[in-house]
């Protein structure tokens, strides 16, 4: 089964050509690899490819089909672009999320202060909310000119990572 996989900004087509237990023949774009692949249930991969030993940790993210892959020197965002994902991508015109109109928390933390109210006009670059985590406060700004359509949090709330805080339309 051939699948398209996105790694950071690269799209690659991957296909398993042959398997004999842990010995796999896999094609990634135009390259065919003969690899010896073992992994644990929780995502530690040991791959021996042409006698090179690779240790990779694969961590599934909250969103389905999205992962972080930790290699020796670099961590990659990896996403499976299968038929379902492709459909969503097409429907949204290439954008799975409308990031620009949402202010989301990049990390878990606490809301120090919401600086806007619903219905208020905001301009690009205007600070709309202050979060704190681990003794450090950070200001978050609107990425567009627009109107605050929805505020999901209030001062003092504890928020998760990637939680939508404020929507702007």
């Amino acid at each position: 089964m051939s699948v398209e996989i996105k790694l950071n900004n690269r799209y690659a087509r991957v296909e398993l050509l042959h398997q004999n237990n842990n010995l796999l023949k896999i094609k990634v774009d135009e390259t065919v690899y003969d690899i010896d692949l073992m992994h644990t249930d929780d995502g530690t991969f040991s791959i021996i490819e042409n006698n090179r030993s690779h240790d990779i940790e694969l961590v599934p993210l909250d969103q389905p089909k999205k992962y972080l892959a930790y290699t020796l020197y670099k961590t990659f965002d990896v996403e499976i672009i299968d038929a379902e994902t492709r459909y969503l991508l097409d429907r949204l015109g290439g954008h799975l999320d409308s990031d620009e109109k949402h202010i989301s928390s990049p990390m878990p933390g606490k809301v120090v202060k919401v600086l806007v109210t619903e219905g208020q006009e905001v301009s690009k670059g205007q600070t709309v909310i202050i979060l704190s985590a681990m003794k450090m406060e950070s200001e978050y700004k609107s990425k567009v000119d627009g109107k605050v359509s929805k505020i999901h949090v209030t001062d003092g709330d504890t928020v998760e990572g990637n939680q939508v805080l404020i929507e702007i339309e």
Partner: protein, 502 residues
Amino acid sequence: MKQIKKVLVANRGEIAIRVMRTCREMEIRTVAVYSEADRTSLHVRYAHEAYYIGEAPSSSSYLNIERIIEAAKKSNSDAIHPGYGFLSENPAFARRCREEGIIFIGPSPEVMLIMGDKIKAREAMLLAGIPVVPGTEGSISDEKEALEVIHQIGLPVMIKAAAGGGGKGMRLVSREEDIEQSLRAARSEAMAAFGDDSVYVEKYITSPHHIEFQILMDSHGNAVHLFERECSVQRRHQKMIEETPSPLMTPELRKLMGDTAVAAAKAVNYLGAGTIEFLVDNDLNYYFLEMNTRLQVEHPITERVTGVDLVKQQIQIAEGMQLAFTQDELVQRGHAIECRINAEDPDNNFMPAPGKVHKIKEPSGLGIRIDGYVYEGYDIPIYYDSMISKLIVWGKTREIAIQRMRRALYEYKITGVKTSIKFLERIMETKDFAEGKYDTHFIEKNRDSLTQEIEVGKEIEDMAIITAYIDYLERLSKVYSNIREFQPAHSRWKKSPQILHF
């Protein structure tokens, strides 16, 4: 002299465990206190006893003097070790312990009061003949007086608005001919911004090195220093890497500054372990900066080169024992470096990155020490410091220590949260660091190369793609064949039988 049999550690995280480790070696029972966010934190599990002291925010728990004293009394603790941060430099807490008849492992509240006040500390040091950063004692509103002071201090100087902040009314003056104009500009800017044109003038240290000396002083008046720690690798004014010996240090300067540090401790009748922080410029002039009246985060590098357990010394001094060694018996052997592993994102201005730790693989072997507290599955709370572990290495020479640190950082793998590990690895590979030529501007100066995108080659990328592909295939095969049987954690290495179906 009173033998301590039970210690309450009024702290959390790695330092709580660090202190308890020595207590266990001394056969002292340990008492943990914990906030609501820390019920599953390792110090609670490591201790013999554990007491809940309040809500997650520090103000309700780790800064809550009443609750901590209550736990100490309920547990019959003889002594309290405050660690660093939280109440460790709080004179009211130290006084309260004294009133309750509980030994506070640290100096007297009187010393803490002096050293906690910048102006009083400066006065005490001047009195003891210890150099401080030259500058005006108070603010100056008269131009002529300001000019005199500047000439007296000598260039370069920094002029700062007395009412200031945010860089307004601030001027760096390096050349004689700029003095008057800069002074006027600073004053008028200050007036415009704050309605007050009085200014401070301070010596500007061009290439500042943050070097500190560890001291120990017992209740019998004996004091020693345990040499320096070089702490100039900083981000956001927070230390990131420390090492000892300092690459800048000479034996003469070490002796001079060490003697100064001991004199400073004696000047205030210090008790226990403390640290005198100095600024040192490229010409090896040094100035007292402040004294930390507690254990430092970076104390392990001193322990490694001197062989002295500083926590044990703190406890024995608190018991009233005499120091077991003199200055002459202390020697620095080899080189030690500490890297602070923080849950933060170095590519995004060191933004804190709390969250759930997925997996941890810690380095080990020759010359490695780790003082940490997080474990797999642990949820790093948002309420406290982002430092999750300290990696300390020792080598016979600085070069070996750096090689070892690189190897250790290679072995150190934490997934689930972002950490400073890879950033630290790059610092080890930076020429200026390798040559020991750096000051507190180091990270800023090398920011581009330190945060530059790494090219790893297509093959590594392809391997990462393959791991996700295999996981995806296995998940699919599970859905379609409806296999959902229980699989114990870390149970086995799989040979991927499922994907035979594809």
